[in-house]
Symmetry: C2
Subunit: 706 residues, 2 copies
């Protein structure tokens, strides 16, 4: 012991010498902090057995080692065969090690965790249906331990085959609609250098079941398909592969012209198809498990097959044909509204795509945003989702909060994602949830999937704020199992990210669930939509009436005049795009939920609400409620100080203060604007602080003082 | 001891549990790692005395505590009065504690470090001429210890009063010419939240003597002057103030129109002046020590006083007048070339500004780029620097490597900065160095200063690469003392950043010094300039001939035809802008250094060089030499593996591999292009790998495979 003392002294001096480790949030929910004394017995591991003969199994084993070492103080001994009770045994379900247990078959990417006996000892088994299943089983086990959940008998396999992030990352390092710094891909240093962030990104995604990533912006640059960039994508793919993540690319329809030297991008031109076939072959030589292409065509100015009087199906099928021999797929975005804005942009995608149902190749999947418009705080679901039974439909959700407060607002999107997934479309009668459409079970599709527009950048905390991490987390968990309760997902995230103490996770989960309603209230209550500032979409601008297109203006959507507000979307033909009974329900004011009221109806300002208030009074009340809810979130968080390190606690507190200031801005700016038309006074105890002109004159990204 | 064991065990388990700390480079040169055993005695501190009754002194004391704790294992006891030999005593030179020592006066921002006796004990004293001097003295002491230099008798004060970083950061979080991620200011979270990066930034700057920062891009947005952004700037200023760093802002000339509601920005319009006076008063209410404004006017499309037929002096003086009562200054940029490109852009600033010498208020300083063009790898100095004796001139250097390989190339700019500063302009005969012009000593100016365009972003390593940090470091050190040897600065940076072992610092310093010559050789040898790709300036494009202005095209600068290459700048009138004997020297091929040959002269391809080679042969040789020099840097770095942690070693190795690939790209693309005109063959052992068309077709930021 005496001889050890100087050694210990040196170790301790090193340990205490540096500044305390800054809690930047960089470790996400994979913190693996030591288990509290009272919980140690529940998670004790005497030894572990885990053969790893492949890069993916080695990745899983490394993660388990890291997790056990962190949480147990030191990793227990790794042994070749079980020789003690309390062992952890990990491997393929069909391996010689585990086959004798005759576990239920976990299936593709699935895993089983359960108690068993091996070599006469009581053990815990993590068995994967395949290598990916082992990886996901390890992460599930670590999640259970970190969240201080019982290490339960678990059998789990993903409901969706494709669980993808879409990065709207440009080749110059900027991120469209990104609020977390610059692109993590760091193109200039690839392929020679694989940035360290990529390994962390891969682990985080694997921990929540994400198995694919589209590296570049859907507003794609042709250059991504040049040899230099294929080399870079290959370097990323090589780094992600051990974590069961495939790489996909967004492609620009006119690439054959821009970088191929052709004069046309007509999908029926054999030279064009040959160019794409050669390009696909080139990519698959570099990346044998390349996933496929994501295409934004004839949408918001992007080129597409319609430039050559061909349909979206013509375009998608041509690309599908060249990818087919390699096993690749085409994800073709249905976010189009190129037709006449006078016809109601909300219905444009339906009009365009429904007639094409049944015309797509079997390796085409349509990627459809959850709402008919564009990632608003709350939208009715896109009727297209219920109207193309012969076509696999991927859901596109937005994890980055373009319209929901961007970097700073605490808005837990798990609640929104789950609401969307559990929505019944009545496509084939009751029970036709969006979850069942996108997982392929409703119509028996071979391809299923969900894509989320990533909120990831090179900020130390990855997502721009600690709580934005929860949206990434919830996306992955719900893509794996859309049936999970968003509240449970919030709780397990909070437990892993901060502390599993129920005195913390309880109130914080409530705060997260409330946050989603709060943002709807202070931004767009009663079915209002797209009244955000022009272009950057940060802050209120119901007065916005600039720009080249009618349907890029706020006034196009709310239509407020002295006569009323809202859009009669029965008259526009939009409600008829829904299946019965929704078409009728949304067409009738009396049966339309308040949440969608002004989305579907144009109403007088003195329209009487079920609450007894006039429409105007209800609008004022909801905006005020939203601000009050943010104040409640602030008060709730203030009580959590004792549970959270100072740096992360302060970030959340400060951002909530920003959210409160900006919620007031939203409330006051919108009500000052709509008051011009309402013909009714403000309540006695409320008025916007400034005249409307002050709000209208604010520069981008800035509110007036509250 | 026994009772301590469990405690130690817990501590050790925590310590060993986490993953090894990633060496991201985030600690910059302020690492404070434990001193090696053999050096401990030299730097032993028995106790320390440091009163700190102000935020700035508290910042200095905190840094000393951090440094001593890190390097000595634990900080020695802090005491009220010296009671032992080997004490460290820190304070104001004029304080009761130190005044009895009758130290030489350190002056404003200056400090003294020396051995002394206090209370009968041998002590080391750090005495500041003012609080900033204490801060800088502490950092100087820590630098000496970290670099394992003797803690020498030092008396130091800055040669330049203004030592500023210019951030070309936009309000949307992007950084113009930034290659290190997004802006560290993080505008959306201010003022409620001061991002943690700002404290690290402040410490790093203070450690090298930087005392001011211009927060936003010289291509300024008017919004920076709105109340919301002034509040944000105040939050930054409050965070930087304890580190002796003042905040400045770039302003947009037309702000009175854009955000002030005026119809004019005419500097002679009393309403305009009143608007600026009110705005200045508003800023100084929020930031009492606000530094002043940086103005880019009538330059590259920016508005300015010439829009109203007023001169730059009219504009600068109006702003100066409104800042004067508050003690603020105007930094007016001389980077203008608005007149006819046919007249040689290189001479434009001189033509515009020299006639205004003597017309500026005494709180105006002109900010002049080092070269007449724009931050090329090597340029002759701007003749304007020697031609305005009645006007204080600030030097503008570029730390971010817009034209020098951007993120990845290892190019040590300390060598370039020092070359500029030591250049003799002959403004008042021999010895009229640029250092003496900008420090005010040559012409007796009250204001002196140097500005550097920052290379800082939110990348974990701050500057996009570990070695880019050296450029930030060298800028600060040379701004403090332009007489420092760039080699010595490189060595002290390398010692602090990696290890002070001379077996490392020796070869690495040589590599850094070589790197600056290498980039000139592989990009723009023989005085070539501005043959970079259009717009983004990454990679070679001597063929570039697109764009709205002649002087934005590469062909405007090199003028290569079959008859020859280069620009006869005697004929253009440019050489006459230099003072004798330089005007004559640069006008004559025989006396023009090879470094500037094609800058000043148009020569036939078979022009005979002093080496005996033709011009073409010399060009080929220089390009090849540049590639060889990068290969030598790679080989040199490969031998340093044992001295550097794996992560930083790999980053440097990988980036050198990129630099080598891109140096080959530069060599081959440029020579393939110029070969069209040279009429001479390539040497037997060399040819570009690809036809010229391949290089011309490369997408942005990408080279063909080497």
């Amino acid at each position: 012991m005496r001889r050890l003392l100087p050694v210990l002294a040196v170790i301790l001096s090193v340990f205490f010498a540096g500044p305390a480790k800054a809690e930047t949030g960089h470790d996400l929910w994979l913190r693996y902090r030591p288990i509290e004394t009272q919980h140690r017995a529940s998670y004790a591991v005497s030894q572990w057995v885990m053969p790893a003969a492949s890069p993916m199994l080695a990745a899983a084993r490394g993660e388990l080692q890291r997790g056990l070492a962190g949480m147990l103080g030191a990793a227990p001994p790794q042994v070749q065969a079980v020789s003690a009770d309390g062992a952890l045994v990990v491997g393929l379900a069909a391996s010689p090690l585990l086959a004798p247990l005759a576990l239920p078959a976990p299936g593709r990417e699935g895993y089983v965790i359960r108690a068993a006996r091996l070599n006469g000892h009581a053990v815990t088994v993590i068995a994967g249906g395949d290598e990916a299943g082992v990886l996901y089983g390890v992460f599930a086990y670590l999640r259970q331990v970190q969240a201080r959940q019982p290490v339960a008998d678990t059998l789990s396999a993903p409901r969706n085959q494709l669980r993808l992030l879409n990065h709207w990352d440009n080749l110059d390092g900027t991120v469209e609609r990104g609020y977390a710094g610059a692109s993590i891909w760091n193109w200039p240093v690839l392929p020679e250098h694989v940035p360290r962030l990529i390994a962390g990104y891969a682990r985080a995604n694997a921990s929540i079941g994400i198995n694919g990533t589209v590296l570049n912006n859907v507003n794609a640059q042709a250059a991504i398909l040049t040899p230099a960039y294929i080399e870079k994508a290959k370097a990323v793919a090589d780094a992600l592969r051990p974590w069961n993540i495939r790489v996909y690319l967004s492609v620009r329809w006119s690439a054959p012209i821009e970088i191929g030297g052709l004069t046309s991008a007509d999908p029926l031109d054999p030279a064009v198809k040959r160019w794409w076939a050669d390009k696909a072959a080139e990519i698959y030589r570099a990346i044998p498990d390349f996933g496929g292409f994501l295409v934004k065509a004839n949408s918001e100015g992007q080129p597409g097959p319609q430039d050559y009087r061909r349909s979206h199906a013509d375009g998608a099928n041509m690309i599908a044909d060249v990818l087919k021999p390699h096993g690749g797929i085409v994800m073709w975005r249905a976010f189009v509204y190129a037709d006449d804005p006078a016809r109601d942009r909300a219905g444009a995608a339906y009009r365009e795509f429904v007639p094409l149902d049944g015309q797509f190749r079997d390796n085409v999947v349509l990627q459809v945003k959850n709402g008919p418009l564009d990632f608003q705080p709350r939208e009715p679901f896109s009727p297209l989702l219920a109207a193309m039974p012969k076509t696999p439909l991927m859901l596109e959700l937005q994890i980055t909060k373009e319209y929901l407060g961007q970097k700073t607002h605490l808005v837990y999107l798990g609640a929104q994602f789950s609401e969307v997934l559990q929505t019944d479309t009545f496509a084939h009668g009751p029970g036709s949830t969006i979850a069942r459409i996108v997982d392929g079970s409703l119509d028996g599709h071979r391809i299923s999937g969900i894509a989320g527009v990533a909120n990831i950048g090179n900020d130390a905390d990855w997502s721009g704020s600690i709580f934005n991490q929860a949206d990434w987390y919830a996306f992955g968990r719900l893509a794996w199992d859309p049936g999970l309760s968003p509240r449970a997902v919030a709780a397990e995230w909070a437990a892993q990210t901060f502390t599993a103490d129920p005195a913390f996770t309880g109130p914080v989960t409530e705060m997260m669930m409330l946050s989603r309603e709060a943002v709807v209230h202070y931004m767009t209550p009663l079915g209002l939509h797209h009244i955000m500032a022009h272009g950057h979409h940060m802050g209120p601008a119901p007065w916005d009436a600039i720009g080249p297109r009618e349907d890029w203006k706020a006034v196009y959507y709310h239509r407020a005049t002295k006569d009323g507000i809202g859009w009669d979307r029965k008259a526009s033909g939009f409600t008829a795009q829904y299946k019965p009974p929704l078409a009728e329900r949304f067409a009738d004011v009396a049966t339309t939920p308040e949440d969608y009221l002004l989305w579907f109806h144009r109403l007088a300002w003195d329209h009487r609400m079920p609450s007894g208030r006039t429409l105007w009074e209800q609008m004022v009340a909801r905006y005020r409620q939203g601000v009050d809810e943010v104040a409640a979130m602030q008060a709730g968080w203030a009580k959590m100080r004792g549970f959270v390190d100072a740096e992360r606690f302060a970030q959340v507190s400060d951002y909530l203060a920003i959210q409160h200031r900006e919620a007031i801005w939203w409330r006051d700016a919108c009500l000052a604007y709509f008051a011009q038309f309402s013909g009714q006074p403000f309540p006695k105890d409320y008025a916007p602080k400034y005249p409307l002109a002050v709000y209208q004159a604010m520069p981008a990204y800035a509110s007036p003082p509250p």
